[in-house]
Symmetry: C2
Subunit: 337 residues, 2 copies
């Protein structure tokens, strides 16, 4: 039997567990651990893991695949703690939203006898925690994979199998490129949203603001409601990129501010272009939509699968995916609307 | 029979019509006009107005209450056009999201024989247009009223009656105070959201950003999808306040940016405070929640109603509200969650 260990049973870890267990069956066996016992109980109750354990040592013992799904700021500590107990040949992956720092931690702490493949599912929702875990959370969403230099193709194919099994689209990019991307589309929005909230909250007129604020202010400030540990972890591990994006955002705000003093025609053109471009964006990115020929292109994962049929874990996970009736072509066709 | 004219049958004008007609009946008679004939047909089909007309002249002829629900930038033109045809003693109100400029236009264009009471329902949604009109759009939401200096108490009570009839909470504040408030809670979010979209859209990496962007970026940029005419109108009529708020927002972004370079403990405290305060905000503003004694406080509108029983239109509108079984106490108790 294949044993997979999930460390951290929040929204992401719990959703991975639910997705892996969706087809039913006892193989792979999912062993779960969370620092919070009540979270472990909830994960077990929800069927996101087969059994829970009381410590990290026990969690990784005998596991062929270890998924570290803790907040970014806790990743290093977990790597350090599990390193001595990892089975030889085990594959370790994570789900943190920054990758450069995580790869450096993996290199520093994990033994040479295991392979590390960094991961980041580009999925989530505002309501965190195991109570919001969802087996379909990753469906059709990009799932970034950043293998360590030393990771074997077999190890990579095992994690690709995991990603396909949970319904994600494997996306191989470099750690630096990833961190710049998420700095722009994920971490900058966090800061922009938080600043919009704290600006008014700290001002003298807050009681009046709170009374009249409508859906626009509420929606725009929702990221300020995120898990503070997660937010600090993001800021701490992607600080350089994030600060650069804040600077560029400030420049853009100043550009729009200057337009307010200019002609209404220019401003109208600006808003019209933004409206049109955002509608295009919501319809789906051009790179993922076939213009006129709806040809099923093979995914990176399928290519790897063909190439590396020797990857036992990949085969096992692919087999499970087939059992549950989903194909990668079907997923590729779905946009992330 | 009372005749009410609604000029502009988009989301707001249409929702006012639906709310007024919710109790059924033919009194008041709602006469609707929109520059777009297909919008008029849709409004008539949806039951938001009793009949439509082909021009502004006909729209206001014999109307006791005229509701100008057009984008801010079109308000002046409508005032100018309807001025010669308004019935003596008519009450005119608007729904534009800026009030200082609108009051100046009313003073410049409307005849002394009519009363102007500026209005701004603090309600809305991202999907605009008559197709999204909703009789409950204003329920429990503040509805700002800014009477012109010359407006009689009878005229004010008529508009208060309208607000109560559509389910809003009348809120009397000055035009300058209003424009500062909406500059903060509504117009700044518009610019912040648009800038977040245009920054990435204009950058070389857009195709990659669009591919990996998740719910955070999508939600935070949704105001960029708003009606460009509306956005320009907002910017043009509240430019000074908006620019001042953009400056303060930039300062706040720089404050958070500086915190990124400091200790994680301070940053954590910042995010924890923001998370707690935003949860309080979403639970409902303190001013509108009774701490321990759920006493039904009289609304400003009810007080006015008692004070000004002579206001025929107010009585008529209040009567309709009673018929439909809703009470202002019930509305007051509901929070804007």
């Amino acid at each position: 039997m294949t044993r997979i260990s999930i460390i951290g049973l929040g929204l992401i870890g719990g959703s991975i567990g639910l997705a892996l267990k969706q087809g039913g069956g006892s193989d792979p066996e999912l062993v779960g651990f969370d620092a919070d016992a009540s979270v472990m109980a909830a994960a077990k109750g929800a069927g996101a893991v087969d059994r829970t354990v009381t410590g990290l040592d026990e969690a990784v013992a005998g596991a062929e695949l270890v998924i570290v799904a803790v907040p970014p700021i806790s990743v290093e500590g977990v790597f350090h703690a599990i390193a001595p107990r990892l089975a030889e040949g085990a594959v370790v992956t994570d789900t943190a939203s920054t990758k450069g720092q995580v790869l450096r931690w993996a290199e520093r702490h994990l033994p040479a006898s295991v392979a590390f493949v960094g991961g980041h599912p580009m999925a989530g929702k505002s309501d965190q925690g195991i109570g919001n875990a969802d087996a379909t959370l990753f469906h059709g969403r990009p799932y970034v994979l950043v293998p360590a230099d030393a990771a074997s193709e077999t190890a990579v194919s095992a994690v690709v199998g995991l990603v396909e099994r949970v319904g994600g689209d494997p996306l191989f990019i470099g750690a630096m490129e990833h961190d710049q991307l998420v700095g722009a589309v994920s971490h900058l929005p966090l800061v922009a949203s938080t600043a919009l909230f704290t600006l008014l909250r700290r001002s003298a007129g807050w009681n009046d603001f709170a009374r009249v604020a409508g859906p626009a202010y509420r929606d725009l400030t929702r990221l300020a409601a995120g898990d503070p540990q997660m937010s600090v972890g993001i800021c701490a591990t992607n600080s350089n990129n994030l600060r650069a994006w804040i600077d560029r955002y400030i420049d853009e705000l100043q550009r729009l501010r200057d337009l307010l003093e200019g002609s209404p025609e220019v401003l109208l053109e600006e808003f019209e272009t933004a409206q049109r471009d955002r509608a295009d964006f919501v319809r789906g990115p051009p790179a993922r939509v076939a213009a006129s020929e709806p040809i099923e292109r093979p995914t990176i994962a399928s290519s790897l699968g063909t190439l590396l049929l020797g990857g036992r874990l990949y085969e096992r996970l692919r087999g499970l995916a087939s059992v549950s009736g989903r194909t990668s072509a079907g997923r590729t066709a779905s946009s992330d609307r």
